[in-house]
């Protein structure tokens, strides 16, 4: 009987030693990060090696991914946002591929660990902060002062804006983490019911049909969630980066 939390267990394959109190090891999480990077590279480089004028299936997928992310950036930031194209594309593909791979039974889902999504969200947060000040200087602070607000409520509004800005990495990371975690737990629980009821003989087998159907339906739902959350992470990244590029709004 599987425990729905076991699937998130980090397993050390081999240790790399310690730096101070911090233990460093090559883990299952690292393996699946490597798989996500390798699959992305295989898709974007392997499938486009032919540079065909009329693309085949895989080259079409690679071009679709490229155009999709590029269009998302152009629509949210504009042409000046294309300097962040590699960042947004890497985030999108890394999360998308690792989520979809993680959905295959017995595989590990990288984004089901808060530390990973927090690291990615902080990467975006500090990119916004550093680029915003580097490009706009002090004018970046206009971000916290919306136009057309009466002076007497302005301090409150600024306070709320500053607070919401610093809360961003939390919501950005927890959204992805919680979706992946909850989805995988739910799947595992329903799949667990199937094996559990199966142990009670024929009646159990009949009873297991319902959780089995639920598992099938949830797998489809989780596939949607896996793709959607990658997109949500990418588009939120674009929206946050837009503040760094155009802080006036």
């Amino acid at each position: 009987m599987g425990d729905p939390i076991r699937q998130f267990q980090i397993i050390d394959y081999f240790s790399l030693g310690k730096i101070g109190p911090v233990n460093l090891a090559f883990t299952n999480s690292a393996l699946y990060m490597a798989i996500a990077v390798a699959l992305t590279a295989a898709l974007m480089l392997g499938a486009t090696a032919g540079r065909q004028l009329v693309p085949g299936r895989l080259q079409s997928i690679a071009e679709l991914a490229y155009e999709f992310v590029a269009d998302t950036i152009r629509n949210t930031i504009g042409e000046s946002g294309m300097r962040f194209f590699p960042l947004v594309f890497s985030l999108f593909m890394f999360i998308l591929i690792s989520n979809v791979v993680g959905l295959i039974p017995y595989n590990f889902t990288v984004a089901s660990h808060l530390i990973v999504t927090v690291a990615l969200a902080l990467l975006v947060f500090f990119t916004v902060l550093v680029y915003g000040f580097w490009k706009n200087g002090v004018r970046f602070l206009n971000l916290f002062v919306p136009k057309g607000i009466p002076v007497y409520i302005l301090p409150a509004i600024v306070l709320i804006e500053v607070f919401s800005f610093f809360v961003r990495p939390v919501s950005h990371s927890v959204r992805l983490f919680a979706n992946m975690l909850a989805g995988h737990i739910t799947l595992k629980v329903f799949a667990g019911f199937v094996t559990m009821l199966g142990a009670f003989g024929f009646a159990g087998w009949l009873g297991a049909i319902i959780p089995l159907l639920m598992t099938v339906a949830l797998t489809a739902l989780e596939l949607l969630v896996a793709v959607l959350q990658a997109y949500v992470f990418a588009i939120l990244t674009c929206i946050y980066l837009n503040d760094a590029v155009h802080p006036g709004h």
């Binding site: 050390d12 490597a34 974007m44 486009t48 660990h113 690291a119 559990m196």
Partner: protein
Amino acid sequence: MAENLLIGAISTGTLATGTLATGTEATPPSEHGGGFPPFQKETFGSQLLWLAIFFVALYLIASKLALPRVGSIIADRRKRISSDLDEAARIKDAADAAIARYEKALADARARAQAIAAKTRDEVNAEAEARRRAVEASLQAKLNAAEQAIAATQTAAMANVQGIAQEAAIAIVARLTGKAPSQAAAAAAVKAVMER
């Protein structure tokens, strides 16, 4: 076990850490100790290290190799399509010009043909008219001649009638009176009767 499963499903956070991890099979030595895996701090170092390594690798692959290549493939295709469209437009213009030239030549030829036909028709008409006039004139001349001949014949006939009537009158008068009137008297009498 079923209770544990349910609790695990409901409480993803703190509750699960204690009840579940202890209630399951013995963990292999490579696994980390109890607790909810995403909150096991001792795994954070490894995860961050490999995330940094692989994400930087992915970023470099994307920015240096993959995106420039896919971008150039798409740009090449756009360029090729637009140049093909330009070429198609150029050829279409040439075709349009050729069609216009052809139409013009056709119109010219038609106009020339019409001019030739009109000229020919006029010539033929004029010739026919002339011939008709000539025929009419000759017919008129013949008619006139015939009329003259008829008139002459009539005059001659009338003269003959007068002579015969004169002689007949002389003969009648001679038979009735036994004395022949003079030619002149007979002629005057006949003339008077005929003019009545």
